[in-house]
Amino acid sequence: MTISANHTAPDQTSKAPTGDALTEAAKKFGITAEDYMLPARHQIEMVDPDGRLKPEGEQGTEPGHEYPLPGDEELLAAYEQLVVGRRVNDQNSALVRQGRMAVYPSSHGQEACQVAAALCLSDGDWMFPTYRDAVAVMTRGVDPVQVMTIFRGDWHGGFDPLKHKVGIQCTPLTTQLLHAVGVAHAAKLRGEDTVVLAMCGDGATSEGDFHEALNFAAVFHLPVIFFVQNNKYAISVPLAHQSVAPSLAHKAVGYGMAGERVDGNDVVALLAVLDRAVKLAREGSGPLLVEANTYRMQAHTNADDDTRYRENSEVAEWRAKDPVNRMRTYLTDRGLLDDDGEARIREKAEAVATQLRDGLSEDVPVDPQELFRHVFAKTTPQLKEQSALLADELARDAASSTEEAGK
């Protein structure tokens, strides 16, 4: 897409503190600032719903928005994770039905986004996920049972964010984007080349913190990739009630950053776009906004009843675009995947499912004193008092039940 002339105000008096990133980008890619910021005319899409590689001219790429096809190994690894991710989603939903977990916001249908979000990052990078991104967190290497702790109800978070460089799965919408910005800023100040991927949903883009996070990242010129999984619903509320912009990627323009949209059920395109975004960010492009067009195939969580607000036919339409099947066809057609390979991957997925079943059917005893242990690094006399009160209660309970038993 070409815009005929420079849109920048002729009389903008102040200079960007970070050098004019837009001018640089425009120079680098030989396009206008607007063309750099606006997403390409069409979303980036490489493998179609039938698993066929699209002709290069139809992939949505254009000058300044060029995305080479990812390598075969990366794609095979991604496929494996897709299969595992799907299995995990469905296993977890089953565990909820069996009462082993309290709640699970499934990413069924969004596994391509989940997998690509994790695979595009290096070890030193950070990820800030939401409640729906358990599969991304696992794909990043966190123990699946630990990831599910929050949904089992033992504790709020089950893994160490510092060890894995993964933020806790965040519920208050878009608040985590600012944490991502802070992590990136700290790394930048120390001269580290960390890239941070910050995730949110379509609905979440309406929150004020979304705005503040994107703007802070842009003004401080930080290597943050804002990755929006546009699954078309925020619980019951369809996208049209969140935004009337041509796309969520268009929001990049308001911050002077680049936006792009990508087929969120096409892991090939996702990897192409996110890999490049990570590379650009690491090289100093500043933040980028990537919108993945996908679909929430199931209800918001098990507690939700999606028949109240959407047609089955809409869901069915998206079933045909399934990210796992699509990739299987593509890899099989390309001769990269055969029955053996498929079997090996399925086995791996089963192993993770078993791990989850086993891990989550254990009834881990909870320690009531944990209530007080972690509130502060240095506790307070008040909490000591309250902890003693509870201990006393429990001791008396125990004593009276021993007494009862002794009768």
């Binding site: 019951s236 509320v237 935004s243």
Partner: protein, 370 residues
């Protein structure tokens, strides 16, 4: 049906709205006569519908309140009945919801907005504190702000973090807000109607663990009683209830803690102790008279609330009761509240919540030997 929208007759003195009494009684006729088992959720839902029937300037909006009917179904059916103009979903932004409601109230509407969960009202804090609470005052009453902010609150439902906060103290501490919280199904109906009728902004705290609790109530009778009271200019704002009479000590509770207090009183009765239970009902304004009358009679008191105790509504109740009833007290007033910790994960919440045993322990502690 989708009546023409006019401006509230009460607020800001614009065009008068026709009260659709006929419509309301038509809705009533669909209901079974006489007392029926009704949930708090249903009572609230009915109150909203009746208020919308009665005044076309009453609007309902928030996240998922339209087609879905709210995640707790409190707004169920309102869009179908009143149309998308009267009950609708907003973009997902709580400050936006409250801020837009402020503007609508300025311009003649009576918005009733839903915050999906307690902790998700925090993004709207600035709008609530700096505008909702202050608009009437700063304009010397020129602008009324008849706005109801509904907040499902509290724990005991096995919710994950941020879904179980007891946030009433933040609002109660904010001058310019009224804070209501019903504990019974009938109060749910009556108090929500009164909140909507009020020309002052009301933060309406709904104890979410009581949504599915049922009482035997006659909704038709509640509706008539409300109409009669409203016509006579009567309101029970600022009136606590004696939920259970007693003589030995007073349990002061509100919202989700009222049933627990009643259960404790029941248990104490078996041990021969007669506890009076006060249901505060409207935290702001506070009913000093009813509370103090009880404490002066019993000479002993325990205040019960789910929220962290520190600098809370329960601190306030203790402080004001000791100020007013000092020489009647045989023992210090005790508090049974949530601990001063973030609300715990589902498997641990039972250790956090003020339960019957903890209340009875506190009662035992009231220096009976004196």
């Amino acid at each position: 049906m989708s009546p023409t929208i006019t401006t509230s007759s009460e607020a800001n003195g614009n065009v008068s709205a026709a009260t659709a009494r006929a419509a309301a009684s038509a809705a009533a006729s669909a209901e079974a006569a006489g007392p029926q088992p009704v949930t708090l959720a249903k009572a609230l839902n009915t109150a909203l519908a009746d208020a919308m029937h009665a005044d076309s300037s009453v609007l309902v909006f928030g996240e998922d309140v339209g087609t879905l009917g709210g995640v707790f179904r409190i707004t169920d059916g309102l869009t179908a009945t009143f149309g998308e103009q009267r009950c609708f979903d907003t973009p997902l932004a709580e400050s936006g919801i409250v801020g837009m409601a402020v503007g609508m109230a300025i311009n003649g509407m009576r918005p009733v907005i839903e915050m999906q969960f307690d902790a998700f009202a925090y993004p709207a804090f600035e709008q609530i504190i700096s505008h909702v609470a202050k608009m009437h005052n700063r304009t010397k009453g020129a602008v009324k702000l008849p706005l109801v902010i509904r907040v499902p609150y509290g724990g005991g439902i096995g919710g994950v973090e941020h879904h179980c906060d007891s946030s009433e103290s933040y609002y109660a501490h904010t001058a310019g807000l009224k804070v209501f919280t019903p504990a019974t199904v009938a109060d749910g109906y009556r108090m929500l109607r009164e909140a909507i009728d009020s020309d002052d902004p009301v933060v309406f705290m709904e104890p979410k663990k009581l949504y599915w609790s049922k009482d035997l109530v006659d909704l038709g009778e509640l509706r008539s009683a409300h109409s009669a009271a409203a016509a006579a200019g009567r309101s029970s704002e600022g009136r606590a209830a004696v939920a259970r009479p007693g003589t030995d000590a007073t349990l002061i509770a509100y919202g989700p803690s009222v049933p627990t207090a009643l259960a404790a009183a029941e248990a104490a009765a078996l041990e021969g102790r007669s506890l009076e239970v006060i249901d505060v009902r409207t935290i702001v304004p506070f009913d000093d008279a009813t509370v103090c009358e009880s404490v002066r009679k019993t000479g002993r008191a325990v205040v019960i609330a789910e929220a962290h105790g520190f600098a809370s509504v329960s601190s306030e109740i203790v402080a004001r009761v000791q100020e007013r009833c000092f020489h009647y007290l045989a023992a210090p007033i005790r508090r049974v509240t949530g601990f001063d910790i973030p609300y715990p994960a589902p498997k641990l919440e039972k250790y956090y919540l003020p339960g019957v045993d903890r209340i009875l322990d506190a009662v035992d502690d009231l220096q009976w030997e004196n």
